[in-house]
Structure formats: C-alpha cells, structure tokens
Symmetry: C2
Subunit: 410 residues, 2 copies
C-alpha cells in the first residue's frame, strides 16, 4: 500500500473572485464573510446559545412568522426538504406532491422513501402549479394528509401561489410542506398570513450566506402532527424530537455539533436582511429583475416562464438556436469571472438561468451580465449589437429613478 | 400578527477568543480560517471541481487508504454515522453493535431506524470493546452482516482495538462500520491495513476544521454491498448512489449544493496535516497528552480509562468529591476563556473531559489548562498547590526534549 505522498503536489487553494449569477450559491456580503471567520466557540457556550436565540428571532422575521419552531438546520436545502418529509410523513400516508420542475421530483422521492404514497399533480416545466388540479386531487384522495409543493421552482424560475395552495390543503384537512429555498428573502413569503405548515429554505440563495444551512419553520399544527406520530422518525439526525433538545427553548443538550462558523455567517446575513427590511429586499429583486429582463429581451432571448409567474431572482431564458450552451458559459467564466446557471434535466443545454439573488442582486451585476453576454454572443456570430442590452437596462433603471424622485417630491 | 421588529435589539455577533479544550470543536488554525473566508464559487466551477479531487486525495492520506470512495459528506459526524448505516443496513439485517459510551447507543438507534436488528455487545463506560464478547456475538449470530463500533469513544476517552475488531468481522463474513470521529488525525488509524469497511469522522476534532463536515471512506466490499441492495436507501440526501453523481470520478452532476467555504477550510486543514505528516501528528498528540496527564495527576485527578486504552486527544478524569462541576467550568470560561468538556449521560457532573485535538493540542494550551484549573480549584478550597501541575507537565516536556536531543545526536 502506498499512501505516503500523493503524486500531484497540492497547494493551498485560492479561488478566483467570481460574480455568481447562477442558481446559487450567490455572492456573499463582505460582512457575512467576516462574521464567518471569527474564532470558533463551543456549541454550548453561553455566548453562543444567546446567539442561537437571536438567530431564531431573525429567521422568524425573514419568514414572517411567530412559529416557535423556527431554526437553521445543519445541512443544505435538501436536508431541509428531507427533515420536513421524514418528520411529517408516516408509512402509508398519502401525500399530494406538485411537480413542475426538478424539485417536485425530489419531493416524490422523499415521500416514497418515507413509506408514503405520493399522489402526483403534474404541471409542465415552466408552468405554475395549477390549484384546480390540486383541488381535484384532494377530491379524488380525501384521505391525503399533506400537500407538498415548491413555491419558487429553481429549475425553471417559476413561482406558484403558495397562499392559495396552502389554503386548499387546510380546506381538505391537510398540512402543507413548502419549498422556499429560492424564495426566502427574494420574493414575497408570509408563513403565518398564508398559513404554511412546514417550510424549508437554503442559506446560499437570497440570504447570500455560505451554503450548508437550511432555515426551517413549523406551525403548531405541524408540530402537533410530529408529536402524535405512531412510528419513530426514520432519520436519527433529522428527528425533530431530538434536534429540539438542542434548538428548543428548554435546557439545551447536545444533539450534534452545530456548524458554528456557518451560523455566525447566517446571523450576519439575516441582520443585513433586517437592516434593509424584508419588503425592501423583495422590491430590490423586482427592480433589478426588470432591468435584467429588458436587457435579455433586447438581446432577443425569450423567457421560459410567462410574465405573471416569473421569479425575479431566477430568470430562465431559452438559448438561441445555433449557440452552444457550454461555449458561452465557459467564455463568461474565463473572460469575465461570471457564473450563470445551466439548465437542469430536460432543460439541460436548452436554457440559461440567470440568478439575481441576495447580495448578487445589484445594478453592477446586471450591467456586467448583459455586457459580458452581449459581447460573447456577438463574438460567436449571434446578431446582437454590443451595448444594446445595457442601454435597455439603463432605460429601466432611469425610469425607476425618475419614479422614485417623483414619489419623493409628492 | 406582529413580526415587524423583534423586541430585543440584535447586533452583529462577536464571539470571544476561547481556548477550546473540550470534546470539539477544537481551535481552528489561522490558515484554515483564512481559507474559509475566501470568495464563494459555484459547486460545479471547474476550479472547484479540481479542488474536490485534491480533497479526496488529502482525505485518503489522512485515512491511510486508497479507497476510491473517500470524500467529505455535507454534515456533522452524525450525518457520517447515518450515511454508513442507511447505505449498508437493509430491513431485517442483523448488526452487531458495540456500546461502551454515548455513541454506541446512537449506532443502535441508527440500526433500528433502518429496520435492522441490533445485537448489542455491552462494555462498561470507560472500558474498551472486548473482542471476546464480539466473537461470542458472531458465534451466536452467524448471520450478522455488519459489526459496528467506535474506535475512539468521545464520551469517555477510551480507544478500542479497531484492527482486531475489523478482522473479527471479516472472519465471520461481515463488514465493519467504524466511528473515527475523534481519532482521525489524532491517533493511529489505518483504514486499508486494518481492513475497515465504512469509516466516518468529523471535521471539528483532530482535523481542527470548522464543524459541519464528515470525512467518509468506503472499501470496495462496502461499495459492492451498497450496489447490491434490495431496497432503496431510505434517505435521499445520504443515498451514496446519488451523492456519487457529484463526488464520484465520472461526469459531475448536481446533487445538493456543497458547503463551499467549509470545503475550502477542510482542504487547508488537511494540507496542514500532510505538511506535519500524519505520524508526526499522532506523536504530537501523545507528547502533549503525557504532559497534561502528569499535570492532572499532580492535581490528584484520576482518569476514567485505564492507561492502555486512553486516547491522547480526549482525557476524561473524575471530578473530585465536593467540587461543583458547573462552577469550575464557568470560572474557567469566564476568567480564562478556557472551555473544557462536561460529562455526558451517566457521567454528567461526574467527569471532566479535556480535549487536546488538532490545533488545540499545543504546549501553551496544556500549560494554560493546568494553570487555570489549578488556580480555580485552589480558590475553591481544593487542596492543590498552585504551580504544582505546571511543574509536573514541565518535567515531562523537559524529558521529551532531552530524549529528542539524544536521538538527534546519536
């Protein structure tokens, strides 16, 4: 056996400074990076425990909820998803799952692996979940105990109407599991007002925090369902009955070692969000989306999702005929340090996904993106006048400024 | 509903600089902290993918293995544990689990939640796993498919003989699942030479990296077992068949967003380990353990584990009669910014656990620890002469230096 020294010499790793306009991670604010680099303390250090309480308060602010059970799970968004399913689904449970992109499919997998029976409501990729189909599914399966859907489908950039869907679930005596990975902090999400029961998100999208944390919130009804389970939760790590011994309000006891530095970062990222104000953050995503959209359309690119259902923070457009997906993305990365997102699943090679999430969602990034894309496409012989897209975005910003000035002087 | 502003004003969080001599997290090396704070890049960025390959190489070095399937899982050590169990245990499988502390108990939970049948081999807390009992268990249950044990029991500081136990498993046609959370990087661990099949660890112990990552390695036999499963792995997130689409050697595809900054940190932490040399790291833990032990014994403290089975990186000693556990730990934290570990389970309030892990394992920390503990205990009326423990540790270091000088001039 030879494990003495690897053949290739390995040095310290120094990544370049990218601009991240893909599906996440998004750029991290310097304050958040600095927070993360602070000295590690113990996971039961009284000073840390105090910070955990602040984190829960800040997360409630971001989620627009007063749910006691609101905390950051120690894992990526897919751990958030699985935490919701393993705790709320019992063997034999019927779960209505809405699929209109990649992540609905992942939900189906989760239901099956929990021993549940998924009832799938299908909508086309790029279409929002159709509430009528959900209602029909509930009528056909009145014993369904849960409705699960994606509020903001990252694979297509499509928003579904979480309020209407959650209300349907309640009407039929079911709870809702809602994927808010891409929505939290980027577009309207009101957990209490809309009556959502179990919601998970990710740290690396519109919160612009380091990847690897999953904000979670559960209504009283969801918690009651978990406490009334007949079977043990199949995951030890994600069993909320155990996790709560650490994150709950009573005496804290060890469950697993929390990702301390990541939690420092999340605290600062949520503080930045609260300083800006959640409504202002939602508006900011809309403003820059409008400018990006004008620029992309000036280039001649067509959106996957129709206007009414478009997510401002995730813009999926079709790749023009004759243009090679990978060539363009490689050029953007190599020449401009700019990352944009590729298509997933059936949309691979067919669409680009432009994320404008959290700290990435800034005018300088919109202009860089349009400028870089215009120049790369022109180089490849695509009929676009360099500077045209930037002019279109500029016009949108100018109009926004004029309106802001008018409103100010009213 | 009122979620406008939390009542309490929340500011940026600034933790103090602690010295961490508990059960982990350990102090993080400045280079590792700096690596973590570098700009985030996409999880499929070619530059990042190259770093992932280096990470796997470095982990193979640390684990002393050539296992292809060696990578850092996205979660704490308990995700590592659960990843091993959900992938290797199928419903109905019999698993021999050795329990001699907290973490064996967690393994039993894992087996049960996977639908397996645990056959428990019990040893007293503080005693190593008795190979004779394991052999007897295999003889009584020749159909057992897996042997699971903790190499380094963090709750007591006891080492078990991983080589002998793994050989027993193979003799009876079973695979081994080995918890190396506290051993990796701190005491001898040779995955290939000892024939271990599935091994997990944590980033925040002797690797002195940020918490939240779990180095994993699987033998060919373990991988074959996983590929031959009759049932789907019950966890979507931990299903190695899926995780490998991202971490495997073929074309990388999205599974979940990797904890990018944490992985930067792990890369640097492993580089530090390789620069030191794994054997040198093992020796360093022994050297400082000897000094700490001399000091603790000079104070009159008695070890939980007998000498032959003591882990150098985790020193559990009984709290003297009449001394209040919490008072001492609070004083150490408040006056000296020093964290030591409390007892877990039946040992709560009865023992202290002094960790000397990774970057925390340094002479200055040993001396600080003895000095702080001596002075706090003296203050509380415990009969100890201040300076006595430091002198005992000093004598050990002086002897080590003298021997090193002799060896050098030979």
């Amino acid at each position: 056996m030879n494990t003495a020294q690897p053949a290739k010499r390995i040095h310290s790793f120094h990544p370049p400074q990218r601009t991240l306009l893909g599906p996440g991670p998004s750029d991290i604010h310097p304050r958040t990076i600095a927070a993360m680099g602070q000295p590690v303390v113990g996971y039961l250090d009284p000073i840390f425990v105090e910070m955990m309480d602040e984190l829960k308060t800040l997360l409630r602010y971001a989620y627009r909820t007063e749910n006691a059970l609101t905390f950051p799970g120690s894992g990526p968004g897919s751990v958030g998803m699985e935490t919701c399913f393993v705790n709320l689904v019992e063997p034999g449970d019927k779960v209505i799952v809405c699929r209109n992109g990649v992540f609905g499919g992942r939900m189906i997998e989760n239901v099956e692996r929990c021993g549940g029976t998924p009832v799938v409501v299908e909508d086309a990729w790029g279409e929002p979940v159709d509430p009528q189909k959900v209602e029909d599914a509930f009528k056909a399966h009145p014993d369904a105990r849960i409705l699960a859907f994606i509020q903001a489908e990252t694979s297509t950039g499509c928003a579904s109407d979480a309020r209407t869907l959650a209300a349907l679930a309640h009407r039929f005596g079911a709870l809702s599991i809602v994927d808010a990975v891409t929505s939290l902090g980027g577009s309207e999400l009101r957990v209490d007002e809309w009556g959502l029961d179990a919601v998970y998100s990710g740290s690396q999208k519109c919160l612009s925090c380091t990847p690897g944390l999953t904000p979670l919130t559960f209504s009283e009804a969801a918690l009651a369902r978990i406490k009334a389970r007949r079977h043990k939760v199949q995951s030890w790590f994600m069993d909320l009955n155990l996790v709560l011994e650490y994150w709950g309000n009573t005496k804290r006891t060890y469950h697993h070692t929390a990702p301390i530095n990541g939690l420092y970062a999340l605290h600062e990222a949520l503080l930045l969000l609260r300083e800006e104000g959640i409504d202002n953050a939602w508006t900011r995503h809309q403003r820059h989306h409008a400018a990006l959209k004008a620029g992309l359309e000036a280039i001649g690119l067509r959106f996957v999702v129709r206007e009414a259902s478009r997510l401002p923070q995730m813009n999926a457009v079709y790749i023009p005929e004759g243009i090679n997906d990978l060539d363009v993305r490689r050029r953007l990365l190599a020449d401009f340090n700019l990352e944009i997102g590729a298509g997933l699943g059936p949309l691979a090679g067919k669409v680009w996904r432009f994320g404008l999430m959290g700290y990435s969602c800034r005018a300088e990034n919109v202009m860089l993106c349009l400028s870089a894309l215009g120049s790369v496409l022109a180089d490849m012989g695509y009929p676009v006048e360099v500077g045209h897209a930037e002019a279109a975005a500029h016009a949108v910003y100018a109009a926004q400024h004029a309106e802001a000035a008018r409103n100010k002087h009213k």
